[in-house]
Amino acid sequence: MSEISAQFQMQLDTFALDASFTAPSVGVTALFGPSGSGKTTLLRCIAGLEKARGTLQVNGATWQDEKTFLPVHQRPLGYVFQEASLFPHLSVRANLEYGLKRTPPAERKVPLEQVVEWLGLGRLIERGDPAKLSGGERQRVAIGRALLTSPRILLMDEPLSALDSTSKQEILPYLERLHRELNIPVLYVSHALDEVARLADHLVLLEKGRVIASGALHETLARLDLPLAHFDDAGAVLEASVAQQDETYHLTRLDFPGGQLWVGKVEQPFGTRVRARVLARDVSIATQPPQGSSINNILNARIAEIRDEGPHKVMLRLQVGDAHTLLSRITRRSRDQLGLTEGMFVCAQVKSVALMA
């Protein structure tokens, strides 16, 4: 029973939260939904910051049921708020150590030096006053402060949403690093699809206080019955590994079961796992292997599903190999001219690939 299982009901001003989901005990689970869908409230219920009716189990320990309600400070969790919320009366170091000092020595698993190294906090500690830090730096300190309580689960409430895009770009590599290094589950609230595609392994989709879907990221992103696949920046995520470096053209070949992709040079050793995101609008379809095309990446795919999307577009779900999926958004006219039907084998031309670490 090493997983997170939550189930909450709560009446809010505009809607009722009635959500239940389970999340694996490893990796990042994104709670995703439009603003006002109840994802932050759900996260606060898990932390015990809101008192909802329900049950909550984390790695086999009961945090809440009919009889139990563990107070926030007794839950071994780390919480990162939207705004860094550093204590203004304490130095950067004292902020970092606030939770560490209150964690019994026997439970301390994360040393200060480790967190400082992960989040690049070395220079920030020396600066003393948290008011002197930039938004992104403050948020890094806040994440470090939460990790230093040696939590058994990390809860993050849109930690990037209060930051400008420069700070976001600065902090994302750190989050990706945590994703690789941490061996505790992370619940990550977000309404930004690109963040989720980059960081999450598992997705819980919320709408008006209810969980409408939950599952592995790459499957859920590509489900045409869910709103995600119809976002403007809808796309699929592939897990691939570095297979070949082309020094002449400065390209790297990524392999995944079912195909390969050439992308701009990735400075990683052979075999490194990388995550690639392919947007639906960057995938076009040919029924024959195209001649004289500038597109490097052409994958053999089977059309698994076709769904109308508005008056002139259709979305295709493509099966690549046994385990991988791509989305492709084309016009309805192209579908009819090419005579595309479900089950057909086609060539998927991938115009661009975004690498996610």
Binding site: H73, A84, H89, A131, A146
Partner: protein
């Protein structure tokens, strides 16, 4: 040499003692009260806040009058203190302390309540997620963040007690060494047309009040900036 007799110096000493005792008691009473007023959602929060603020608008003589009745031998509290062999409180130093605490309460409550309200819930929530229990959160986060409010409250309560006249006269009378504070001593000198002594005491009060307020404004400018 100022034309002050030992009785005047006694009045100065008594005033400082009254103001100090009142301020200490007020901070102890008012901190939980201000916390409650800042966070409670009970229906009676409003009425309680109004009662606490009453001395701001009531003439001191009104407050003094009712206190005199309440604490006197026929009053509810008076009967209680008599039954406990404590005697009655009017015309004693303890009586003055009770009056001053009530009279200066709004000046102590409001800055602290404002400070608690201004910090919002977030810092306390953060502290809770960092494993701090309720008392720990209060002492390690709420109190330090409310420091400017406490400073203001301390200075205002002290200064306001020093300047009190009406309540003292109604409740404490004019007993040398027991209830004759500075403001009453000045009144006596003016009544006796001893303007020289009155000047020394009154001028001293003006200077004292100026220094206190100056200190308040200088300290108030250096409050914590709440960072995101």
């Amino acid at each position: 040499m100022p034309p002050l007799d030992p009785a005047d110096l006694q009045a100065v000493w008594l005033t400082l003692k009254l103001a100090s005792v009142t301020t200490v008691l007020l901070l102890l009473i008012v901190t939980p009260l201000a916390w409650w007023l800042a966070h409670s959602k009970k229906w009676y929060r409003g009425p309680v806040a109004a009662v606490v603020a009453l001395p701001l608008v009531l003439p001191p003589s009104v407050l003094g009058f009712y206190l005199l009745l309440l604490l006197g031998p026929h009053g509810l509290v008076g009967k209680l203190t008599t039954a406990l062999h404590l005697g009655t409180l009017p015309f004693t130093f303890v009586g003055l302390v009770v009056g001053s605490v009530l009279f200066s309460m709004p000046f102590a409550v409001q800055p602290i309540q404002n400070a608690f309200e201004a910090m919002g819930k977030r810092p306390l929530e953060v502290a809770a997620t960092l494993r701090a229990n309720a008392w720990d959160r209060f002492f390690s986060v709420a109190l330090p963040l409310a420091r400017p409010g406490f400073l203001t409250a301390t200075i205002l309560a002290f200064a306001h007690t020093v300047g009190e006249f009406g309540v003292v006269l109604m409740l404490g009378g004019n007993i040398q060494g027991e209830t004759r504070v500075l403001s009453v001593a000045i009144y006596n000198h003016v009544e006796a047309i001893e303007y020289g002594a009155a000047h020394w005491l009154a001028g001293g009060m003006v200077l004292f009040s100026f220094v206190v307020l100056l200190g308040l404004y200088l300290a108030g400018g250096k409050s914590w900036r709440v960072t995101q």
